[in-house]
Symmetry: C2
């Protein structure tokens, strides 16, 4: 991990874990501002159970948050793309760990967060998680199609998506195995719904088919 700006030990961290406290920053400090950090692929940004001291905004790269069952099964909560903010917690400790899917640059957000921004952030977290629950009610092809459409929407891509994360990451997000993800992608390709120029690059050829699966 590489620190490019201010120190993390700075004690003026906004106490995000606490509720009922309303701190309004002085005018002019609104917006996201803080130290910039780099993380290597697959390194941990923070761990489940650690004090939830910071908020992070993705500058470049992709971040995943995940939780584990005791036997090692992993559930990925979300992927965060550039511009997304992660690390918002309602408790004193992180309930998920956050890891770098690719090499990542993040901005540590220490202050200057308005309550309205926090509210907005929490709202999008909640909606994302609710959609995730609905996704897990679907069949394998439906989950994969939903995932592809979601990723295409989030990267504002017309019809091509770069899946930077591994098949294992996708599988743990969708609640499937890597084999099922792989087979489903192949099947979608055979149906001409998508094309797979490389294993990480996906062309959406027939959005209608995908949307139908999306339910």
């Amino acid at each position: 991990m590489l620190v490019e700006a201010a120190s993390l030990s700075d004690p003026t961290v906004h106490p995000l874990g606490r509720t009922g406290q309303r701190r309004y920053p002085p005018p002019g400090t609104a917006g996201l501002a803080g130290a910039r950090l780099s993380f290597n692929r697959n390194s941990e940004i923070y761990g489940e159970g650690e004090p939830a001291a910071h908020l992070y905004q993705v500058i470049s790269g992709i971040v995943r948050t995940c939780r584990f069952l005791i036997d090692g099964r992993r559930q990925i909560g979300s992927f965060y793309l550039p511009g997304d903010t992660f690390g918002l917690e309602t408790t004193a400790e992180y309930t998920f760990s956050a890891e770098a899917v690719t090499d990542v640059n993040v901005l540590v957000v220490k202050r200057g967060i308005l309550p309205s921004q926090l509210w907005e952030l929490m709202g999008s977290e909640l909606r994302r998680t609710q959609d995730h629950v609905l996704l897990l009610a679907k069949t394998a092809p439906e989950r994969v199609a939903t995932f592809l459409l979601e990723m295409a929407r989030r990267v504002r891509s017309r019809d091509e998506v770069e899946l930077s994360m591994s098949r294992q990451d996708i599988a743990d997000y969708l609640g499937l195995t890597i084999e099922t993800v792989s087979r489903t992608l192949t099947q979608l390709e055979n149906e001409s719904a998508i094309a797979l120029p490389t294993s990480k690059r996906i062309v959406l050829r027939d959005r209608a088919t995908l949307k139908r699966l999306n339910s």
Copy 2:
């Protein structure tokens, strides 16, 4: 839908519930104030897509929130027990519909909500939903065991739980079919992990086994 006129003597069942008498709220409702409403079993409290005008607190009975996929599959988001608050939304419209699992009395909360209370509420919604995602990563016996332990915890019951909701409700919450729920309960009973004096009443006989499944 909110019904203003009280008509307790009216024996006909209003499709969207009927009003009840005003009473003093039960303990634990400090800060929340509003009209009290009654809804009959299986009536809709509000629908997905309606303007999210109100917050509700359960006084008595059980409420479920749910969403549907286009083909009719239903996903239950949460069950709300007495004391729980539901209807908190981050958008202008409800993303779930809310229905009465049993006959229900609720308090409509229109104002008097502090930002800190809203924050707390949103936080518990988020945590609940995150736990739901993790639950859906589990096997059928694990899901059922987790559900039983959660319900027992929430009703603060030593070792007996009244499952007021139907098997279909449980199945749609756990992402299983009623047959699988039924079979799993039978299996747990055969393993002496639980007892089923009636189909709706469950005795937790061996929490250790259930907790092991809970992962």
